[in-house]
């Protein structure tokens, strides 16, 4: 069941093995129904999640990327989510300059016991992505799109006094 419409969108999840992946398991064991769009990649720790994985997914055409780790202080490896928090926060703050809607990326903390919270996170995030709709491909997909892009005023950067002319 995708969140709103029939069409599934592509949402990638990166979950740490010890907390959030367990939280998703807990949600499953409790049969907490969730939208089906999300596919989860298991990593040992949120500290293993390179923000560039998120960028790679978005540039490959993911409609949304969700990262979840242990709550701060609860990291299995003591410090992983502290590093992750800094890295991911900077990515989230950076996205607006690229024109990629930063709402397509979110990071949060879910513990292994928080099945209900996981259900809530997945449902809300999937709803948000469906509201945003399918992401635009960074590479123009057709020649026509390419032509339109080449003629687009914004692409010439004319609104930017320093960089366009």
């Amino acid at each position: 069941m995708p969140a709103q419409d029939e069409r599934e969108l592509r949402i990638v999840g990166f979950l740490c093995n010890w907390c959030s992946y367990g939280g998703a398991d807990t949600a499953g064991v409790a049969r907490f129904t969730q939208p089906t769009d999300l596919r989860i990649i298991r990593v040992p720790c949120s500290g293993r999640i390179d923000p560039l994985f998120v960028v790679r997914a978005l540039l490959n055409g993911a409609d949304g990327v969700l990262v979840s780790g242990c709550h701060p202080r609860d990291c299995h490896y003591a410090e992983g989510n502290f590093y992750a928090r800094r890295r991911l926060e900077m990515l989230k703050r950076f996205l607006p300059i690229t024109g990629i809607d930063e709402r397509r990326f979110e990071y949060t903390w879910v513990s292994a016991s928080e099945g209900q919270r996981w259900q809530h996170v997945v449902t809300e995030f999937t709803r948000r992505i469906h509201e945003l709709g399918p992401a635009q491909s960074f590479n123009p997909a057709t020649q026509e799109e390419w032509f339109n892009l080449a003629l687009n005023e914004a692409s010439k950067g004319e609104a930017c006094a320093c960089h366009g002319s």
Partner: protein
């Protein structure tokens, strides 16, 4: 590569909402998949045999099982593929039960999702490589830090189990807080009678080496092979000679030393044996108050000592010892109640802590077991106990319950009545927490048999009222203000992490929580383990605990250490980080971010700096892999390429090179 895919129905658990046959059929078209099938219960004996047969018949070199969560059966299937001759890391699992069939209702969507998860697993598996654990010998010796009841229990259990034990205690004697107690709840038996024999056992056990007045200076190494440096403070007494006769303490003219053992209720001599049952029963000089050490005049103790063991020139000593496991049992300290303005901040001598009250109750205490209040030495008639001083109070950043104050307050109320039959105890409390065996009955006895008056409410202030103190508080059950005149006020001060715990945690790479208590590996399933392999927790250093729980944990930690060191050799998990030396530029950023100190700098044959992972210390978190901009250090089994393969499987890159 030749990959086999096995889709599990899990009865109807998966097959109910996932078309397992279709997933298996789709998977047969995935890259390098040569065999794909579905089965009813893949984890069952026939299911596992099916995998093994397929590995042999199809010459598989990698296996994907799509079933339940890998957190459940990954070890099971790894063993199965290992039985068939594959490396255990040539196996991947797709979780199509907890993450698919149990949470989605639409069979078509579920089936697609299951197929995607299988594809991800296949793409990752294609980049897996066999990993082989390294094995190494262990040192059959345990370090126990802290000589309280938890540490004592752990040390005795380890030693009885055949391990050498090194115990390190910061104070002059072992015994910890329990040694200061008069009686223990709920049995009212004598604390030192229970503890004393165990302390003696420590001193006499041939496998136990005891260092008191000592602290941990540094720890390096890894599970099975720690290297520990212990700093033993100078005691100015040669303990190899000291017989503990006590002549020096009788003759010492400097009597200004704070009496630590008696919770600062009075003073003691500069050279001192803290209490008669002390282990080791040796004298030590407090250099801050010793006239000889401070001013170079006196030397009485040296003159009177029959064995000539006084050494004013003694220096701190560093002791190195190698151990295979470490038990941390550093206990707790009492909350500093002076932070509360309502209790007078120390202006009223007759406001004391519960532990001070224990010393007043104790026959070996400063008053010889007679309850005399500090201000004038009179016997108090009205004793007011105030609970939750520094517990369950956000205003002083102590939101947690200290757990055992309810019980000892009830005990002290009972003992007060025993000592002074015409006395009256009042107890201000928030809730009564008495969940242990016989605990609730015990508090009820305090109220019902011993007439302690329990008032549910907080105390707003204490002020002097003639020779007495007036305690003003709320009675929230009656909904009124109450004022109780008190001859003595006893504060049930809460528990906080032992001083220096955070620093010790850094040395041991054990994380303290925000209040300084050490964090266990798992709150339910690994309560005495830490995230540093080979370091275990016992007692109140992990959080407030009463005596039986601490003792239980001491035994539990000992069992863990014994279990660990019962193996001749240990194997390290091979899914650890690995440096590609040709890509490493030696910037050392990874060394800085590793939480375990598992990476060190080395110089290669060309004299260039490189990073090197100490495989046995690395825990496999992957922080370093993200830190390294060149991708030169890769966490095995979760390499960039493996994770990227999963990303690319989910979001395939488009193959349209040229647009213009």
């Amino acid at each position: 590569m030749r990959i086999g895919v096995f889709i599990c129905h899990c009865g109807s658990n998966i097959a109910g909402t996932v078309d397992c046959e279709s997933v298996a059929e789709l998977a047969s078209g995935f890259p390098e998949v040569v065999y794909s099938t579905d089965s009813m219960y893949t984890c069952s004996e026939p299911g596992q045999e099916g995998i093994i047969t397929a590995i042999h018949e199809q010459k598989l070199d990698g296996v994907v099982v799509a079933s339940c969560t890998p957190r459940m059966h990954e070890p099971t299937f790894r063993r199965a593929v290992e039985r068939a001759g594959l490396n255990r890391y040539m196996f991947e699992m797709a979780n199509i039960r907890e993450h698919v069939s149990w949470i989605g209702k639409d069979k078509e969507h579920n089936t697609n999702k299951a197929a995607d998860l299988v594809l991800m697993a296949v793409e990752k598996l294609r980049r897996n490589r066999p990993l082989v654990p390294k094995s190494f010998e262990t040192i059959k010796r345990v370090l126990v830090i802290g000589g309280g009841v938890a540490g004592i229990q752990a040390a005795l259990d380890c030693a009885d189990g055949g391990l050498d034990v090194v115990m390190v205690e910061r104070d002059q004697s072992i015994g910890g807080k329990m040694a200061k107690l008069d009686k223990t709840f709920p049995t009212i038996d004598c604390s030192s009678c229970v503890l004393g024999p165990k302390m003696v056992d420590i001193a006499q056990h041939e496998k136990i080496t005891l260092h008191t007045c000592a602290e941990i200076e540094a720890v390096s190494g890894y599970v099975g092979n720690f290297s520990v440096t212990i700093r033993r403070r100078a005691t100015y007494v040669d303990w190899t000679k000291c017989t503990g006769c006590g002549v020096c303490t009788e003759k010492c003219p400097s009597k200004r030393s704070p009496d630590v053992f008696n919770e600062f209720m009075g003073t003691t001599t500069a050279i001192n044996i803290p209490f008669p049952q002390a282990i080791p029963k040796k004298a030590a000089i407090n250099p801050a108050t010793c006239t000889m050490i401070q001013k170079g005049k006196c030397g009485v103790c040296a003159k009177v000592c029959p064995v000539g063991c006084i050494d004013y020139e003694q220096q701190d000593e560093l002791i190195n010892v190698d151990v295979g496991a470490i038990v941390v049992a550093t206990g707790y300290d009492l909350f500093d109640w002076h932070k509360y303005p309502q209790y007078g901040e120390g202006r009223y001598p007759d406001v004391i802590t519960s532990l001070q009250y224990e010393r007043l109750l104790s026959a070996s205490g400063p008053t010889g077991g007679h309850i005399k209040r500090p201000s004038d030495g009179k016997e108090p008639k009205n004793v007011v106990f105030i609970q939750c001083v520094g517990s369950r109070d956000r205003s002083v950043d102590r939101p947690y319950c200290s757990g055992f104050c309810c019980m000892y307050t009830a005990k002290q109320a009972i003992l007060t009545k025993d000592h002074i039959p015409d006395s009256q105890s009042y107890v201000f409390y928030m809730d009564i927490r008495a969940p242990g065996k016989g605990y609730d009955e015990f508090t009820r006895r305090a109220m019902e048999e011993y007439g302690a008056q329990y008032v549910r409410g907080r105390v707003a202030m204490i002020y002097p009222h003639g020779e007495q103190l007036m305690v003003r508080g709320a009675d929230t059950l009656a909904g009124t203000q109450v004022e109780v005149p008190a001859d003595l006020v006893v504060l049930a001060t809460g528990v906080e992490a032992a001083q220096g715990a955070v620093k010790l945690g850094e040395t041991l790479r054990v994380v303290p929580d925000q209040y300084g208590f050490f964090v266990e590996s798992h709150p339910k399933l690994k309560p005495v383990e830490t995230n540093t392999a080979g370091v275990y927790l016992a007692g109140a250093c992990q959080g407030p605990k009463d005596i039986p729980t601490s003792v239980g944990q001491g035994s539990a930690a000992a069992a863990k250490a014994l279990g660990l060191l019962s193996k001749e050799r240990l194997e390290s998990d091979p899914a650890v980080s690995k440096v590609n030396l040709s890509r490493c530029v030696g910037c050392q950023k990874c060394i800085g971010t590793c939480p375990f100190g598992a990476i060190k700098a080395i110089t290669d044959r060309q004299g260039k700096l490189k990073a090197e992972v100490i495989e046995t210390v690395c825990q496999g978190c992957g922080i370093c892999t993200v830190t390294c901009p060149q991708g030169a250090i890769q966490l095995e089994h979760f390499t960039d390429n493996q994770i990227l393969a999963e990303v690319n499987a989910l979001c395939p890159p488009k193959m349209n090179a040229s647009f213009e």
